[in-house]
Each structure stands twice: as C-alpha cells, then as structure tokens.
C-alpha cells in the first residue's frame, strides 16, 4: 500500500476508535445509585432538569459537560457566566420554590430548612454535597456528580486532569530552605483558617507554615488578634475578603503597625478571588496555581 | 362550742418571737376586737387564724383543729378582709365578688348557678348591683370597701377576720363600714374578729376586747375591763383618757393619768 493510503487508513481507524470509545464510556448507565452525604440515592433516568443549590457543584457540573442538563442554579452560583441563575437561596432553601422548576435531580450543599425530607416527599432525588474538607473529598463529589448525570468518564477525566495540574503546580515550587509562613485572611476582623480546613490543607501542599495553627486547640476558623499577626510576622498574606469587604494590599498596609510585617514590606500581600478561595470545584486548580506563583516569586 | 379558739399560738420571724403563747376564745356571733400598739402582733394573729403563716400551738375553728382542715375547707369557714386589699383595676366588680366562691368550687371547676346566685346576693346586700359591670379601678374608696366585703360575704363564711377595717377611710365611711359589718353579724350570725386601732369604735361594737402588747396577750375581757386608762397607758406608751358618755365609753388622748 502506498504511504498516504496507510496513513489515511490509520487516521480512519483512529477516528473510529476515538469516536467509539467516548460513546462506549458515555453509554448511559441508569438507573444508578450514588452514595452522597445523605446516604445512597437512586437516580432512575439520566436527569434532564437539574436544580443546583451549590456554587461549587454548579462549576463542576458545567465542567463535566452536564451544563445542558441544568435548568436552575442558586443566587450565588456566578460561574460559569452562562449558568441559569435564579433567586433560589442556599440560606433558606424552599422546597416549593425548587419544585417549581420541575427538577428530576437536585444537588445541594445545605440541608437547612428540612429541605431533604421535603424533596423526598415530592419524590425528587437529591444529592447532599456539603463543603469538602480535603481535596480527595472534592474529587469524590465530582465522581458522584459524574455518575449521577451520566458523565462518569468526563468526571474521571476532570479529576485526572486536576490531579496532574495540581501535582505540576506543586512541583514548580522549590523545596528546602526556610519554610515560608503565611496568614490567610477570611474577614477584615482577622478570622483565619487552620490546617484542618480544606484551604489550610491546600496551603500545606506547598510546605507553607500557617500562623493560625499556633492557636492551640484551634477551632477550624479561629479569630486572630492583630497583635498576634504582627508578632508572627508572616512572609505571605492572602486576602480572601477582597470582593466582600473591599480589602486590598493598600488597606492592609494602612492598618496600624502592619507596614512592618514582612509580607507587607516585601509586597507579598495577595488579593485572592473570594469565590475561588472558598469553593471546592474545578477552580481549585486556579487557586493552587496562584499560590504556586506567589511562593515561587517569594523564594526567588 | 366556741367558734374560734387559739391555744398557745406563737409565731417566730427572723429569729424573733412576733407572737408568743396567745390563748383566747371567741363565741359564735361575737365581735372580738384585737387592740394594741403597732407591732403588737394583731395582724400576725389574724394571719395565723387564716393559716397564712406557720405557727406553734393550735387554732381551733368550730372545734376542729385548723391544721386538719384543708385550705379550701378553712376558707369556707373563715373569710379574710385585709387592711390593703389587692383590687385589680381592670377586673369587674361582679368578677371580683365571684372570686369569693372559690373555696366552694373544686380546684379546676367553674361557678355553677348556685354560685352565681350567692355572688349576686352579696352584691345586692352591699348595694353594688348597679356597679356590677364596672371595673374595680373606677370605684371610689367606699365602693371598693363594699366590694371587698361583698367578696367576703360571697364566701358564705361563719367568721370574718378584719384587719384594720377603717384605717383608710374617712369618718362617714368608717361608720358605714362598721355598721355594715355589725348588721351582717346580726342577720347572718357571723363571728367577727377585728384588729382595730380606733378604741372608741372598739367600745361601740366589740363584745370582747383582747389587748396585745409585744406579742403577748396581756388582757382579755369586756370593753370596760380592758379599756382602762392604766392598762392602755402602760401598753400603748401614751397618755389616754377614758370617758363615760352616758353609758358609752370614749377613749381620747389625754394628759398623764391623775390619781383618783
């Protein structure tokens, strides 16, 4: 056979194979039983009208290709921009308001207001996906959402991709030498996070030392005193109260005594995106990459 | 049989003996007056009889040990008219008088026809029928006094305990109130035990007078026997004069007693 023919044949075979493989992976496997935080949930058919009450779950669903099956998301789900935002509230979820969208699956991060039993009474399957406490937990939720929506393979690929990228980001940071200290600011009145939290564990991947961990018998979200932060003199300060409370490097430097902190002097006060820093969806990767960049710069 | 008897009744409060070893008897239909200076224990004696304060000794009501009687049984025999009654301003006169039927009802029962009739009768006898629907807060002092007496009447007691029944009233009201009670005594055969400070009124109405001083009973007897200048002067710590006005005693403040 001539070269071009072989090549064409190879291309054709490859096309068939790649066309077939995803089709095989996406062969609907319903009914499916998913184990979420509210126990085993059976979903009879591939859901076509999903209502989401969780900003992180919204991001995940759209990332695994289930976006077209989503008919309504809560008022805080602002990413991706095309998601069908409504006035549904995660603070006081109303089963009736959810039912108005005639969902065949509800994904929620909150069980408040007796939402779950009410939805059960309405015979609407609901998956409870509360805030993840570690990255592995976030991956698990993505797998659950993939299985529940008929996108198992896409979810698996998403998780694998995230793993690779996170590992790569971590590798770009040189180890050895003095461990850098940091302060993660949740609110202007100095609520922080310890290493027992999701965010805290993310920071720990980079070998950073969290000044909030010294709060002995620490709550997960201790409130630190200004005095303590000054004494701890962190090398890095991460602000997660930018969008909500208007904090910036400038406002931080203006606080009495803060201009002496290493992070402020060396201009290592980092304004994070509040949403990215508080969710456990696919954009964890963005968060990690940002931290990696900051740490690299600080070490150079 | 005596209507009321106290045997060695004593009351201690805050370590102090407010009343000690008081023994007296009251015949049915009698008006017994308790006299004595402030703090002598008149009110305490009344409260002991009513079972409102714990006491040593025995109180016999109608021959029965009061301690053996239940709260309600005691209230059916003895009605208390306090010195300063609590009169809820927004309670109607009719409702207030009907409270007097409480000891005749089972603990959670409502008034029956008989109870309502008794209350209405009490209202009528004290000339309050026209005021029945008015709130207590809109009554004059005299009308309120009558309402309190009507409530006591509605209890259909055998005896009435009055604590300083005239201290808050003017002269005309004082007379009215005491005449009222005396009238009820006559028509209903009520026994009256009254703590009184106006000794002339005591002389007018009382059958027997009991003088209390420092928590002890120092004299008992007919008015003439107890309302004597030396006795009163010694225990009241004040100079008094006892005058005989055509058979009626009049007690007035006076100079130091002159040896006669």
């Amino acid at each position: 056979m001539s070269r071009p023919s072989v090549a064409a044949a190879l291309v054709a075979v490859a096309a068939v194979l790649t066309g077939a493989a995803p089709a095989a992976a996406q062969r609907p496997s319903f009914p499916v039983t998913v184990r979420a935080a509210n126990g085993a949930v059976t979903i009879p058919r591939r859901p076509a009208r999903i209502v989401v009450l969780s900003a992180s779950a919204t991001e995940t669903l759209f990332a695994i290709g289930a976006g077209r099956q989503v008919v309504a998301v809560d008022d805080k789900s602002n990413f991706p921009a095309g998601a069908p935002r409504t006035e549904l509230s995660t603070f006081r979820p109303s089963a009736e308001a959810v039912a108005r969208h005639r969902p065949d699956l509800v994904v929620t991060s909150t069980a408040a207001n007796r939402l779950l039993p009410a939805l059960r009474r309405l015979r609407i399957p609901v998956l409870l996906e509360p805030a993840a406490t570690h990255i592995g937990g976030a991956y698990e939720q993505m797998r659950q959402l993939g299985a529940a929506t008929g996108h198992r393979a896409a979810a698996a690929r998403l998780v694998a991709r995230m793993r690779r990228r996170i590992a790569a980001a971590v590798r770009t940071v040189p180890r050895g030498g003095r461990r850098l200290t940091f302060f993660h600011e949740l609110t202007p009145d100095l609520y922080s996070v310890t290493s027992r939290t999701f965010i805290g564990r993310v920071y720990a991947l980079f070998g950073l030392r969290n000044i909030a961990d010294a709060a002995r018998k620490a709550d997960a979200f201790p409130q630190l005193s200004g005095e303590y932060v000054l004494a701890a003199n962190p090398d890095l300060v991460f602000l997660a109260d930018v969008k909500c409370c208007g904090q910036t490097a400038r406002t931080v430097a203006a606080r009495p005594g803060w201009s002496a902190i290493a992070a402020v002097r060396n201009r290592r006060v980092v304004a994070l995106d509040d949403d990215v820093a508080s969710r456990w969806g696919p954009r964890i990767v963005d968060f990690l990459r940002r931290i990696a960049a900051v740490v690299r710069a600080a070490r150079s | 049989m005596t209507a009321l008897e106290l045997r060695a009744v004593g009351v201690t409060a805050g370590g102090r003996a407010v009343l000690a070893d008081v023994s007296l008897a009251v015949a049915p239909g009698e008006w017994a007056a308790l006299v004595g200076p402030n703090g002598a224990g008149k009110t305490t004696t009344l409260r002991a009889i009513a079972g409102l304060v714990s006491h040593a000794g025995t109180v016999l009501i109608g021959g029965t040990d009061a301690a053996a009687l239940g709260r309600r049984a005691r209230a059916r025999r003895v009605a208390v008219v306090p010195q300063v009654p609590v009169t809820p301003p927004d309670m109607s006169v009719a409702d207030y008088v009907r409270l007097g039927r409480t000891p005749h009802l089972a603990p959670l029962a409502r008034e029956g026809a008989a109870d309502r009739a008794a209350a209405a009768q009490a209202l009528g006898r004290l000339d309050l029928a026209g005021l029945a629907g008015r709130p207590m807060g809109t009554l004059s002092g005299g009308e309120r006094q009558r309402a309190v007496l009507a409530r006591a009447l509605a209890q259909e007691p055998r005896g009435v305990l009055l604590d300083e029944p005239t201290s808050a009233l003017d002269l005309a009201r004082q007379q009215q109130a005491l005449e009222l009670v005396d009238g009820l005594r006559g028509s209903d055969g009520l026994t009256v035990v009254a703590a009184m400070h106006d000794l002339t009124s005591v002389a007018l109405h009382a059958d027997r007078v009991h003088l209390l001083s420092g928590g002890r009973l120092v004299a008992s007897g007919a008015p003439r026997e107890v309302l004597r200048e030396d006795l009163l002067g010694a225990h009241y710590g004040a100079a008094v004069r006892v005058l005989d006005d055509g058979g009626e005693l009049v007690v007035v403040p006076g100079r130091a007693a002159v040896a006669s």
């Binding site: 006035e87 603070f91 309405l122 015979r123 | 709260r71």
Partner: protein
C-alpha cells in the same frame, strides 16, 4: 356588655384564623392556581363531587408541604400565645413571655451543638428537634433549681431565669464562635422557620401542645384568683404553689415542643395576650382561649407574609412577627384608648 364584647372578639379571632389558614394554603412560590387548590381541597372532603385539577407534584405541595405548614404555624402560634398569657398570669408581670425562664437560650444551645457537631444532614433528622427540646426543658429545670435555692417566690424564679439564660447564651455563643462555618445555619435556625417536610413535623408538636394547652385552659380560673395576690388567693383556698408549678410546667413543655420544631419565634407570646387584654379585659378565663385562636391566626398570617413579601425568597418569620407585630400593637394601643372601658 362585657359578654357581648367577648363574643364579638371570639368571632373575629376565629374568622381571622380561617382567613389566615386559607391564605396560607393558596400562597406560595410554586405559583399554583387558587381555584385549582380550592378544588383539590374540596375533592378531599367526603361527599363533595369535585375532582382535583392538580398534578401529583402539585397535590403533594398542597397537602404535604403547605397544609402542614399552616397547621404547624397555627399550633406554634397558639402555643406561644397561650404560654405567654399563662406566664403573665403566674408571675403577674406584663413583660413575661414564653422564653422567660431560659427556654430560648437552652433550645438555642441544643440546636447549636447539633448543627456544629452533628452529621451534615442533622437538620433533616429528629436529632435537631430532640436536642432543642432537651435544651429547653433542661434550662427550665436549671432555672427552677436555682430559683428554689434563692427563695423569694416568683421574683426569685424570674431572676434565676435571667441568670440561666445569660449563662446558656454565653455557652451557645462560644460554641457558635468555635464553629464559625456553621454560623449561617445556626442563625437561620434561631430566626425561626415553619418549613415542614410534611405532617410528621406537625405530629411531633401536637401531643405536647395539646396537653399543655389543656392544662393551662383548665387553670384559667385559678389564674384569675391569683390576680389578687398570693396571700389573698391562699386565703381564698387556692394552692398557689401548685397552681404556679402546674402552669409553669405545662407552658414550658408546650413552648419547648414548639421551639424544638420551629426555632425561636419571638413577639407572638408577649404581644398577642396583651392585645387581647386591651380589647376584652384581663380575665384569664377569656384571655387564654382567645389568645389561642388569635395567636394561631397571627402566626399563620405572618408566615404568609414571610413567604410573599420577597418571593420567591423567604423572610425569616421572626423578622416578620417583629416588624408587623410592632405597628399592629401600636394600633391596638391607640384604639383601646379610644374605646376606654
């Protein structure tokens, strides 16, 4: 004259409750047609030849979400109003409300502990109401123990209640602070909610509320006698201590059950009895039953407003009772002065 006024008030209160209940079933974010709902309701009655035009889901919304919600609102409103009136009678204090003896603080602490340390779906199980009930009952027990040790009768009890409430509130704040990520959930619970997941939530409250209301109703006359003070009431043959004990225990149990399921809804227990008092006088034989009906209607209406003012979002019902109760009470104050008794 008084009897006629009472009769009018009773009719008005009942009509109010009926209107509120109707509104409660017709209104909601699911946007069901009013006529359809009425037909569906009628179809459930025996001997009525109507068919329900609603879909299965819509029927579930009406009969398993809205109707129980109205029932719960009526139950809780009635219980809180009656308990408030009872406490006002027992303590002879117009400022008394059902949370006087520390119930609110105790229930809040129980709920906070479960929300903070319990499983993620604790709010959907019986764990949350049980903890709130235990906290409420426990706090009153503590108050009685402290109050008895201090002596001084009713006043001592109120003071003990203030102390216990302060202590338990501090404990609750401490726990809440240490688990700041659950603050929103705790706050939401504290503000009160009448959302139900169906009739089981209602049945949770019914036995306690029924017994409590029955006991308090039975003691309405003794409460009237207590209006002349402890001494005179005792002289009239009333066992003052026992009456006080029974009424307090009954009001406590009923309130604890209501609070366990619907959180801390304020204002109802203090304002409704006062409004009734201003309109028909202070006799407890009239006040207690009327407070029952008026309290039920008031809370159901408040819930309707909570669901509609910012639809489809919901206002916390405690906010509505305060915002609407305030002006309403001011109007009652004014009108009662014009119609001076």
């Amino acid at each position: 004259m008084g009897a006629r006024r009472v009769a009018i008030a009773a009719v008005l209160a009942t009509a109010f409750l009926g209107a509120a209940a109707t509104a409660g079933v017709l209104v909601g974010p699911a946007g069901l047609p009013a006529r359809g709902v009425l037909e569906a309701l009628g179809a459930r009655l025996p001997l009525v030849p109507l068919d329900s035009p609603l879909s299965a889901t819509q029927e579930t919304i009406v009969f398993d979400l809205r109707l129980p919600r109205v029932a719960l609102g009526a139950l809780v409103g009635a219980m809180l109003a009656v308990a408030g009136g009872a406490y006002q009678g027992v303590f002879d204090n117009p400022l008394a409300d059902p949370y006087l003896l520390g119930i609110a603080a105790g229930a809040g602490l129980g709920a906070t502990l479960v929300i903070a340390y319990g499983p993620a779906d604790a709010a959907s199980t019986l764990l949350l109401p049980a903890a709130a009930f235990a906290g409420a009952a426990g706090s009153v027990g503590m108050t009685c123990a402290v109050g008895r040790a201090g002596g001084r009768g009713a006043t001592g009890l109120i003071l003990a209640g203030v102390t216990v409430a302060a202590f338990l509130t501090a404990a609750q704040t401490f726990v809440q602070q240490r688990n700041a990520d659950t603050i929103r959930d705790v706050y939401g619970w504290l503000l009160g909610q009448l959302d139900t997941s169906g009739w089981p939530d209602v049945w949770l409250v019914v036995p306690y509320a029924a017994v409590a209301a029955a006991l308090i109703l039975a003691h309405a006359r003794p409460l009237d006698v207590l209006r002349v003070g402890d001494e005179e009431a005792a002289a009239l043959g009333v066992d003052v201590t026992r009456v006080r004990l029974v009424v307090v225990v009954a009001a406590t149990i009923g309130t604890a059950a209501a609070v366990a399921v619907s959180g801390l809804i304020g204002f109802v227990g203090i304002i409704v009895p006062h409004a009734i008092r201003l309109l028909v006088g202070g006799s407890y034989r009239v006040l207690i039953p009327l407070s029952l009906v008026a309290g039920a209607g008031f809370l159901v209406i408040a819930d309707v407003l909570a669901r509609t003012l910012l639809a489809p979002a919901e206002l916390p019902i405690g906010v509505v009772t305060a915002f609407c109760g305030g002006p309403f009470f001011a109007v009652v104050l004014r009108t009662s002065r014009l119609v001076s008794a």
